[in-house]
């Protein structure tokens, strides 16, 4: 329902339920705030946002008060201004005058507001406390600079879901405390990004540059399929070296978030590259004689299109191990739904009251999806049902029901889920679901019928449902049928399905490239293994720029095509140069942007015309949303095959925490512990001891790992990271669970 209010004499439209502050901001009316952060619920601790409402006695907090139709509001009266100035004075009591060295100086909310309200003398006083600086690893906390706005605590609980920060209240002695100093928090740095003063700063960045010296370059994160908005902040490396260096990453923290990899894993550029003509000529020759181009999905849409064009012109096979399974899965899914894409998106997840996560260790696979699930859990009290063979300790705060199933039984699990959720009148589907051998499926997948009954009961009387599908399923031997069953759920229930792409631009690659399954003949590796290797990891046959040295677009999990810009200059050759040498004529890589396939939902918009901003109330205007195109519908379903069994010890390929790929591994700030982690139960079954050295082979890649017992883990599945395998780390094309032969090595 739309309402109309008058602010400072200006007629403003809004929707019932909007706060006064939001309506004011949407209409470009300024109301000062100190503690308000759009992406979390109003904190209401600063009282700067007070306004006068006609007919209401006293002052109203505009950040949390919902607007009433017809209200007449004044944002500034002498009384209000006096109050605000006093609040600013109180904030300034004993705030150390160390702006000269403070990292925040120049972009500090307190500094700005102190100037704005012309606080030039102090009339209040408080006794000074001894508050030493605390080192929290990635972040250091200076309590004497803290103004207790609580933004950090709110993002930590409401968005990230780590619940690491808390308030130790005690009037003027209040501080923020880190409750998990001994354990790891997820090192996302969200608390630091929302801090309005210099209380929470990056330990690594601290004191290395002033805010105003850094040049902000808007870009998109290249580590996972969320491709979050961020800015690379660059400046000359030092006074003796004029090469630009990325000093830090910031984001539009008011409306969007970043995970630790995005915020701290920015130093993966391919540096010190020059134009090596011999290598370039070799590369062109290699492309001419190549039979296969094998590439990683850590690539821009434009590069993918260039590869596709090369494929069409020279009839070369394209192989992308990361995206192939996903592409097939999506195609099967689409054949049921009759649409070119799934219907879920991140914003809807954060507004859902019922969320099911199936086949993904989502906190590690795509932190941004987890953040949105947390938001739903905190704000909508959402039921979060997490279905996976392994429990995820880091999710325990938000999961309301954990359904554990046997490794390999995903097809049965999906069928059971479909049967539980779908309530359709369609005869065929009804018959298909009724014919399922529930007893057998339950027994094989180890999911009790009462668990499913609980699930279905708990979703009663809720509204807004999301189903998050993860990469355990894409390369499952029965992926085809799983995808079809999920398609049924999509069309016959009110669940919105989100199929999380397994790598940065796996969705883009799936929509742009015609991929083949098999590698044959002479192979060019583009950021992966091959006979002739082009890589941004350095030391290969031809260097290419890393994704923070390129402009182009990514296709995100949100079905959005987002632009990214050149963070650091690159002086070598790029894929487009090779394409031009092969007879495809486009001056720049971004000349391909308007030619992305329209039949798959892309739009013919030039790169330079793509918007990249958030508006004053936080609506995202980054690039464009993919059009959803109608597909041919094919409602054939297969019988559920016998579910495979995985007895004994199982290894699960999963990069933990802030690591995603060989590129995050290049970052020196992120922890790059590469151990095979398992429970003591796994150790018993696999006959291993803590710190044993072992080796095994997966997808043709040899791994040598140290085994470590993790006391937080249970069951007989161990987690194996793949990010440290360099060019081979993208060669993960099989089902994520496997049972390789573990050979002990002599230490």
């Amino acid at each position: 329902m739309s309402i109309s209010i008058k602010i400072n004499g200006k007629d403003c439209e809004g929707v019932a339920g909007d706060t006064i502050l939001n309506i004011a901001r949407a209409n470009d009316i300024y109301i000062p705030t100190m503690c308000y952060l759009t992406k979390v619920a109003p904190i209401a601790s600063c009282r700067m946002c007070v306004v006068a409402v006609e007919g209401v006695e006293g002052m109203i907090l505009s950040c949390q008060e919902k607007a009433i139709n017809g209200a007449i509001i004044t944002t500034s009266t002498p009384e209000i201004e006096k109050q605000r100035k006093n609040i600013m004075k109180l904030y300034d009591v004993n705030h150390p005058l160390e702006c000269g060295v403070c990292d925040k100086s120049g972009e500090c909310d307190l500094q700005n507001k102190t100037m704005e309200f012309e606080v030039d003398k102090q009339t209040f006083t408080a006794k000074e406390q001894h508050r030493p600086v605390q080192d929290w690893g990635f972040i250091s906390y200076d309590p004497s600079l803290c103004i207790m706005c609580e933004k950090c605590v709110r993002v930590c609980t409401e968005i990230v879901g780590d619940n690491v920060l808390a308030i130790s209240s005690g009037g003027y002695n209040s501080t923020i405390i880190n409750t998990k100093l001994d354990e790891d928090c997820s090192n996302c740095g969200e608390c630091m990004s929302v801090c309005p003063v210099g209380a929470l700063v990056s330990t690594d960045f601290k004191y290395s540059s002033n805010a105003w010296e850094l040049n902000k370059i808007p870009a998109s994160c290249s580590h996972c399929s969320s491709a979050c908005q961020l800015s690379y902040e660059v400046k000359a490396d030092s006074i003796f070296n004029n090469e630009k260096k990325i000093y830090r990453v910031t984001n539009n923290y008011e409306f969007s978030s970043l995970c630790g990899a995005g915020r701290f894993g920015f130093d993966y550029a391919n540096n010190n590259v020059t134009k090596d003509e011999i290598a370039f000529d070799n590369a062109v020759e290699a492309f001419k004689k190549a039979d296969t181009i094998r590439f990683s999905a850590t690539i821009t849409n434009e590069e993918a299109l260039i590869l596709q064009n090369i494929k069409e012109k020279y009839d070369i096979n394209l192989v992308c191990d990361e995206a192939r399974g996903y592409q097939k899965f999506l195609n099967e899914f689409n054949s049921i739904t009759g649409k070119s894409l799934y219907s879920g998106n991140l914003e809807n997840i954060s507004k859902s009251q019922g969320i099911i996560v199936l086949g993904s260790r989502i906190n590690d696979d795509n932190p941004m999806v987890k953040y949105h699930i947390t938001m739903a859990s905190r704000r909508k009290r959402a039921r979060v049902i997490y279905m996976h063979p392994m429990e995820d300790y880091s999710m325990k705060e938000i999961i309301t029901q954990f359904i554990k199933y046997e490794v390999g039984s995903e097809e049965g699990v999906t069928a059971l889920l479909a049967r539980t959720l779908i309530n359709s009148d369609d005869e065929n589907i009804k018959n298909y679901l009724d014919d399922l051998d529930i007893g057998n499926l339950s027994a094989e997948s180890n999911i009790g019928e009462e668990e499913l009954a609980d699930l279905s009961k708990s979703l009663n009387r809720k509204s807004g449902f999301s189903l998050v599908i993860g990469s355990d399923l894409y390369n499952h031997p029965q992926a085809k049928n799983i995808a079809k069953l999920l398609g049924l759920i999509e069309i016959h229930t009110n669940f919105e399905v989100l199929i999380v792409p397994p790598a940065t631009n796996a969705l883009g690659v799936s929509l742009i490239c015609d991929l083949s399954d098999e590698v044959n003949g002479y192979t060019i590796g583009y950021n992966t293994e091959g006979d002739f290797v082009l890589s941004a990891l350095g030391n290969t046959d031809l260097d290419i720029p890393a994704l923070n040295q390129q402009e182009g677009t990514f296709t995100t999990v949100d079905k959005r095509v987002v632009p990214t810009n050149v963070g650091l200059e690159y002086h070598g050759y790029v894929l487009n140069d090779i394409a031009n040498a092969l007879g495809l004529n486009n001056k720049y890589t971004i000349d391909y942007t308007p030619h992305l396939p329209i039949k798959n939902g892309y739009k013919s918009i030039k790169f330079d015309e793509l918007p990249d901003y958030f508006d004053s109330i936080g609506n995202e205007h980054r690039g464009y949303l993919l059009d959803i195109v109608n597909h041919e519908q094919n409602l054939d379903l297969d019988e559920i095959s016998t579910l495979p069994t995985y007895d004994g010890s199982v290894i699960y390929n999963c990069n933990k925490g802030t690591q995603f790929s060989a590129f995050t591994n290049k970052s020196e700030y992120l922890s790059n512990e590469t151990v095979l982690k398992g429970s003591s139960q796994f150790a018993t079954v696999a006959k291993l001891k803590d710190k044993d050295k072992i080796k095994f082979t997966l997808n043709g890649v040899n791994y040598e790992r140290v085994f470590k017992i993790d006391t937080l883990m249970k069951g007989t599945i161990a987690i194996n990271p793949t990010f440290d395998m360099g060019l081979s780390s993208t060669l993960v094309s099989s089902y994520r669970f496997s049972q390789p032969k573990l050979e002990k090595m002599d230490s």
Partner: protein, 207 residues
């Protein structure tokens, strides 16, 4: 002469006195006679005496007026803007610069560059600092903006160099630690005004 008299330009009304000039000889003999007379009369020594007197004073009386540059230099005004000095804290001997970067920001010829880092004592340390004197126009903004009176203009005004650009590092400009006692407080642009105490607004203290 009073100002009024001085301003009176009407010829004839003033008390002008005509010089008693000799008649200019017109014949050759007359001219010769005048030269011979002036030569013998010794008028030359009337003027030369002043020079000789000053020479005597300079050589034997210690009253030399010539400055033997570059061995000697004239003192210059504290407001003169020559090559920068970096001052130290008198109490601890630590350099005053806190690395705030304001000099770098305000520099209109973009000649100041600095690198800072987080040091072992949890302080902001200036790890590198240069001024490019090939670009510096000695405007004095850096000294004026410096909140710590750390960068000031010193008295070294000889800026000619063999190279087009010549850089100074932090250490070149910093007061040598053994010369700390001779360090003079800067009086030029950016220095504390003599009545600074009167302008201070006092903050109440809780104890």
């Amino acid at each position: 002469m009073s100002l009024e008299e001085f301003k009176n330009r009407n010829v004839g009304e003033q008390s002008y006195r005509m010089l008693d000039l000799e008649h200019t000889p017109e014949t050759g003999l007359g001219k010769f006679g005048q030269v011979a007379k002036r030569t013998v009369k010794g008028e030359l020594f009337v003027g030369l005496w002043v020079t000789l007197r000053e020479m005597k004073n300079a050589l034997f009386g210690g009253k030399m007026h010539t400055i033997k540059y570059p061995l000697e230099k004239l003192p210059i005004s504290p407001r003169y803007r020559a090559i920068h000095d970096m001052l130290r804290l008198l109490e601890s001997g630590h350099y005053r610069c806190i690395g705030c970067g304001l000099c770098e920001k305000i520099c209109i010829s973009d000649c100041i560059k600095m690198d800072t880092r987080y040091d072992e004592n949890q302080r902001k340390e200036v790890s590198e600092y240069t001024i490019n004197f090939g670009r510096c126009i000695f405007c004095g903004y850096c000294a004026e903006v410096c909140p710590e009176l750390a960068i000031v203009h010193g008295g070294r005004y000889e800026t000619a160099s063999e190279q087009r650009a010549s850089f100074s590092l932090f250490e070149d400009m910093l007061t040598p630690i053994d010369a700390l006692k001779q360090q003079k407080e800067f009086d030029g642009f950016g220095a504390v005004s003599p009545n600074a105490d009167e302008n201070i607004k006092k903050t109440p203290l809780a104890y």
